[in-house]
């Protein structure tokens, strides 16, 4: 270091405090409806946890251990009674019209009951977010109608998102890695559509989904500029489900290999958007990584809840565990971890509401307004024609393209920070809980060892925690221009402060 260089690299200079801590920005855009939505969704999630998850989670896991192809159809049906598969679909498309951020609160509650079943329900939401990020409202409307109608009939139509390939996992989620990734999949343009070839692996819900949102390049040699999302029905000729993976945990959510062999899909199967790599993928991950953070918090909380119950009913050396100081302070540490984790994912969720995908796709004050409009009006032909018109699509796509890089950075970095922090705090609490349990915790019938196995997956999917750390570095520690985004749009002190004023 030379004498002319500063000794301190200031972080966040020129940024408003609200941009550094988006919860404050949210204060300025407070919507009473959002708080009411939290309570409503949380009440549903608590009931579902009590009525279905707690009595069935261990049974379902044992079923899958005996037969990895087992699918807890009863969980899917039970979840559909609560509308979990359509809650975050816009009301104009027949759904509940709640924002993704509101659903995140439910993920914590459900995950504390069973991460596997919660994932079975939540992965569906990831696919909806991916479709939303394409801005193709026309196709989104058709898909959403199918989902909501299936749910109303008690036969939910599930979605999966197929991104990971055998030779490329994390690569596919990062533009710089994608360029050199060892891709095996390609959607080759042919007359009238595309021919899909290759294999996708570890696809959550892959063996139960009726429609797959498949991310593939049309030119494998140039994936950055040619990767798009395709909607592929599970009954499409040339498509089949391969091996169902044998996972360590989260067994209730089947992860499968998807095989595409000269699988033809028409032009209309391609979601209409600019290529996904770059800001569209980032918008999705900025939203969904906060959701994984909620699951990490769920792991931390589930571990605490189980350890507390055990400590109250178990003696060690003639004294109740709960009366021993080392146990009390471990429980306090676990509660501290839950608090930190929750703060982190709620912050990520608010970042997404204000600066990320949710802000773009109208899951905000406009959505609140829409929910007050009678459904017949929303379903009327003129309204639907307007919503799914080319103009609406172009407007939304322009919004995505125009989204300031600084906003995207806020949403992405907070999403990644929540993902890393919460999932690692979740693992920490699982270790602490097992330490308190002692021998009893090793038994499957106590549930805590299952949580330990389940929680580990959270540090891997939605980009490994290592990749997410790189994301945090590049988004909020040391910005540098890269292929992943346009030249950085500097918005000195403008961003969140102006949002608050608005």
């Amino acid at each position: 270091m030379t004498h002319s260089e500063p000794h301190v690299a200031e972080l966040g200079s020129g940024q408003s405090f609200a941009a550094m801590y988006p919860a404050l920005a949210a204060l300025g855009k407070h919507r009473p409806q959002m708080l009411a939505d939290y309570e409503s969704v949380l009440a549903d999630a608590r009931r579902f946890r009590r009525e279905y998850l707690e009595p069935n989670a261990l049974r379902v896991e044992l079923e899958v251990m005996r037969d990895p192809t087992y699918v807890a159809q009863d969980a899917i049906v039970a979840g559909s009674r609560y509308g979990f598969f359509s809650t975050m679909i816009p009301k104009a498309f027949g759904g509940g019209g709640l924002s993704f951020g509101v659903m995140i609160v439910a993920l914590e509650e459900l995950g504390a009951g069973c991460l596997g079943i919660s994932n079975l329900l939540g992965v569906h939401g990831l696919a909806i977010a991916t479709v939303s990020a394409t801005g193709d409202l026309g196709r989104m409307e058709k898909l959403c109608r199918r989902l909501t109608e299936g749910e109303k009939r008690g036969r939910p139509h599930l979605l999966s998102t197929a991104i990971t390939e055998p030779g490329a996992g994390t690569d596919v989620e990062d533009v710089e890695l994608l360029e050199k990734a060892r891709l095996s999949c390609e959607a080759t343009p042919v007359r009238g559509g595309y021919q899909l070839n290759g294999r996708k692996v570890f696809i959550s819900n892959g063996s139960v989904a009726g429609t797959h949102v498949v991310v593939m390049p049309t030119d494998r040699k140039n994936p950055v500029e040619t990767t798009f999302a395709f909607l592929v029905g599970s009954d499409t000729p040339g498509f089949r489900v391969g091996r169902v993976e044998h996972k360590m945990g989260q067994k209730a959510c089947p992860a499968a290999e998807l095989v595409f062999e000269e699988c033809f899909v028409p032009e209309s199967a391609r979601l209409n958007s600019e290529p996904l790599p770059g800001r569209r993928i980032e918008l999705v991950l900025g939203a969904t990584r906060g959701g994984v953070g909620a699951w990490g918090t769920a792991a931390a909380r589930g571990a605490l809840e189980r350890a507390l119950a055990h400590a109250k009913t178990t003696r060690l050396g003639g004294r109740w565990l709960i009366d021993q100081q080392w146990v009390q302070l471990k429980l306090a540490e676990m509660q501290r971890n839950v608090m930190l984790a929750r703060a982190s994912y709620v912050d990520a969720m608010l970042s997404n509401e204000l600066f990320g995908l949710s802000a773009l796709v109208g899951q905000n004050a406009l959505a609140d307004l829409m929910r007050k409009v009678p459904q017949p009006i929303l379903d009327s032909r003129p309204v639907q024609a307007l919503l799914t018109s080319r103009r609406s699509r172009e407007t939304l796509q322009k919004s995505i393209a125009d989204l300031p890089q600084a906003d995207l950075d806020v949403a992405s970095s907070h999403g990644s920070a929540a993902k890393v922090s919460c999932t690692e705090l979740g693992m920490t609490n699982c270790h602490l809980a097992l330490d308190i349990f002692g021998a009893a915790g090793l038994r499957h019938d106590r549930g805590i060892e299952k949580l330990y196995r389940d929680a580990k997956l959270l540090t891997i999917y939605e980009g490994t925690n290592q990749l997410n750390r790189i994301e945090i570095y590049q988004r909020s520690v040391h910005r540098h221009s890269s292929k992943r985004d346009e030249p950085v749009a500097q918005r000195p002190a403008a961003d969140a402060a102006k949002e608050v004023q608005r």
Partner: protein, 353 residues
């Protein structure tokens, strides 16, 4: 001595390569599948089921070699050795208690030695002793002939040796556990089980059990060390072969850092097992090594999973098994935090002496 240990290591490694590696799936899915038929006879043929705390160094070398391939059979050997050691310490004739599986002993090796909170009760009825209650997580119970069980009496605690075929003994179904799944473990219910009074193995069980545990700490840590070795070698091979963003992932500095940390823990665990099994150093150092080694192995194997990403989480690679086994092995001879209380007590005793 070193040459003898090398010989043991070589022969156990051969067995592990041949017999354990080929049945690793069966072991990993027990009790949902059966125990591989040749496993217990194979361990017996190697002489591993004749070992006790008197053979601590040999035992540690053998268990580490087993765990490098698949740790579950090491649990069988350790529980048997613990039971035999308790019996041997009371100078009972083990041969009198031969059971149906080569005189195999069962013992609850995940409990804190000398701490009896939930144990069967023993009452005297003339010359006989009567046992009632449930002994939890008794390792080897489904395959053992002799159950060595801590019990509570009206005077305090004791250890009883119970023939597994006695009237009133009911061994529950093999338990599904976090790790070491091929180590058959079950709850044992005793309903009015009568045993001769010479089956009460010690009048001061706390001292006896802690002594045995102290001599076998090196063996327990050797299991953790072997598991971590397996995870580390898998991680290095994978990182060398796997490409990401156009380069081997071993070229990523973060990957190298994680692997190096695992190697540090591996070296620590290996040396800790050796020192502990040679009974070198004072008690407090023993406990410190014992606690730290088991804990580090459990955490490092989580990194082993992380290094393989999604593949690490799948049963196709050993990483997920290593992570489960290492956390299970961390609980051998009880909670680490309970051992920490003992460590501090030992330090205070030293200062006070």
């Amino acid at each position: 001595m070193n040459a003898e240990l090398d010989l043991v290591r070589d022969s156990v490694r051969r067995f592990a390569r041949d017999a354990i590696a080929s049945s690793i799936d069966e072991l990993a899915h027990y009790p949902l599948t059966g125990l591989p038929e040749g496993m217990v006879p194979g361990l017996k043929d190697l002489g591993l089921l004749d070992l006790s705390d008197a053979d601590a160094a040999t035992l540690a070398v053998a268990l580490e070699a087993i765990a490098e391939v698949g740790a579950a059979p090491a649990g069988i050997v350790l529980a048997n050795a613990f039971g035999r050691s308790v019996v041997r310490a009371t100078r009972s004739e083990l041969s009198e208690h031969n059971g149906h599986a080569a005189g195999l002993c069962a013992y609850p090796i995940y409990a804190e030695p000398g701490v009896v909170d939930r144990a069967p009760t023993l009452t005297r009825l003339g010359d006989e002793l009567v046992l009632d209650g449930v002994a939890e997580l008794v390792v080897n119970a489904p395959i053992a002939g002799l159950l060595v069980l801590p019990v509570t009496t009206t005077d305090g605690e004791a250890v009883a040796a119970v023939d597994a075929r006695s009237n009133g003994v009911s061994v529950g179904p093999p338990l599904l556990t976090l790790g070491l799944r091929g180590t058959p473990t079950a709850d044992v219910t005793l309903s009015g089980v009568r045993i001769p009074s010479d089956r009460l193995l010690s009048s001061s069980p706390q001292v006896l059990l802690r002594d045995v545990a102290r001599r076998l700490r090196g063996s327990a840590v050797a299991i953790s060390a072997g598991i971590l070795r397996c995870s580390l070698s898998t991680a290095v091979r994978y990182a060398k072969d796997r490409y990401q963003g156009g380069q081997q992932i071993i070229e990523h500095q973060e990957v190298r850092r994680l692997i190096a940390q695992m190697a540090e823990d591996d070296a620590f665990c290996h040396e800790a097992a050796r020192l502990l099994s040679n009974d070198e150093g004072p008690e407090q150092r023993h406990l410190a090594l014992f606690i730290r080694a088991k804990e580090r192995a459990a955490h490092a194997t989580c990194d082993g999973v992380q290094l393989l990403g999604g593949y690490g989480y799948m049963e196709d690679f050993p990483q997920e098994r290593c992570m489960r086994d290492a956390k299970q092995a961390q609980c051998l001879f009880g909670r680490v935090d309970h051992a920490r209380q003992e460590l501090t007590a030992a330090l205070v005793a030293e200062v006070s002496a």
